[in-house]
């Protein structure tokens, strides 16, 4: 008796998609590699160049984008049937701007020194193409859960590139990672010098370029004829 009841329950549940179905998992994993917002879609490059001098800044930026993107994707997805299509872009902008201001205020209150370094770039999250892109391309047409996963995936895809670039730039540019000196003083005494060019914006572009190169060489899906 209970067996059959259970079977019936399973039968009822079956049409519902499991939380981490293959499709849903792909929402998180795709942006990490095959569909990375920075290296493949080439979105959000401006901030990737500007705040990757130090790992700490890059990390805070990645976290801020994560919060904003998840929040915006969820809100837009929940309201997707209510938003008049004629004003949808401006509605998205208002939501993103509100979230960004919230993040900025919170940073100012709790991590003041970081917020000073990020200064204008927090505000520029509003114009980060990744966010508007995900809202327009995904959240407007999908349910909250997939939108949430999509946001996490894309923010993570953005974040890991940011942090890798920042590690390379901080290590070679200042001999540190997260403000901790890793290259011993003895090296400097022997004539080793930090590469000042790594601190300047062009090296971010070149570092991103190298990541794209490695990625394209290894990922057969991305090889164009």
């Amino acid at each position: 008796m209970s067996e059959t009841a259970k079977a019936a329950e399973v039968a009822v549940k079956e049409p519902k998609e499991p939380l981490f179905s293959k499709k849903n998992k792909a929402l998180i994993t795709d942006p990490l590699n095959d569909d990375n917002p920075i290296t493949i879609q080439v979105l959000g490059i401006c901030s990737a160049l500007a705040i990757t001098v130090q790992v700490k800044q890059a990390f805070v930026m990645a976290m801020s984008v994560l919060v904003v993107l998840v929040g915006a994707n969820l809100i837009v997805s929940l309201m997707r049937n209510l938003i008049p299509s004629r004003v949808r872009i401006i509605v998205q902008l208002v939501i993103v701007a509100a979230l960004v201001i919230l993040v900025d205020q919170v940073l100012k209150a709790f991590v003041y020194d970081v917020s000073k370094q990020l200064s204008v770039f927090v505000g520029l999250i509003i114009t980060n193409c990744i966010i508007m892109g995900r809202l327009e391309a995904f959240a407007l047409a999908n349910k909250p859960w997939p939108s949430f996963l999509d946001a996490v995936g894309n923010a993570a895809g953005y974040g890991w590139i940011l942090i890798v670039v920042a590690i390379a730039r901080e290590f070679f540019g200042s001999g540190k990672i997260w403000g901790v000196q890793l290259i011993p003083d003895a090296f400097y005494d022997l004539g080793y010098a930090n590469n000042g060019l790594m601190i300047l914006p062009p090296m971010a572009l070149i570092t991103v370029g190298i990541i794209i190169w490695v990625q394209r060489a290894r990922n057969t899906k991305l090889i164009e004829d």
Binding site: N81, S85, R86, V91, L102, V106, A109, Y112
Partner: protein, 240 residues
Amino acid sequence: MDVNKNSYTFAFSAILVIVVAAVLAFAAESLKPMQKENMRLEKMQNILASVKIEATPEQASSMFEKYIVDQKLLNSQGEVVTPSGITAFDVDVVKEFRTIDEKNRNYPLFIFEENGERKYIVPLVGKGLWGPIWGYVAFDGDMNTVYGSTFDHKSETPGLGAEINTNEFQDKFIGKSIFDNNGNYESIHVLKGGTDVVGNQHAVDGISGGTITSNGVGEMIQRTLNIYVPYFKGNQKASL
């Protein structure tokens, strides 16, 4: 419901904007005390930095109390005034620079003391290329020789004008003097980047490529210290 009707669109936009405004206003108000405290500590750090004392935000408050033994307010004639309910530290010189004309501004002076030696710290504010620049200059007990300085800016060009907040630039002021041998006010000029200033007591080398910001620094030093000259001279005489 037709979400594309004009009336719906208007109503939707209005409600959205009101909700967003309410949320932001609430957040801004509730976080304000913490943000203000952060700014207060930063100001203390900056003042201490001009006398080469590095304080973390946690130490700033106690170190400030320990080292800054006196604060004074001057009027535009360089006379010490004591308006009620306001201390020199409360004066936001950047704000006053923007909103109050030169005659009515308050001019704060912080007096630092360590091992019986006094330094006089003057806040400065002026215009850079893109926005305000500000800083603190500390003078030795003779009220003539620069002991240390710190500058900062809002939006100067990174790598050019923004270099004013680096030690490299700030240290150039150390040891320079603002009065000439006859006791006349000469100020410290910031010359075009690359100029030879060896032996010149009243000039420092500006930033190459950051000429307008450098000029702004020179102008703010010249204009602001001019106000303090009567006070400095009065005290120099008194100490002779």
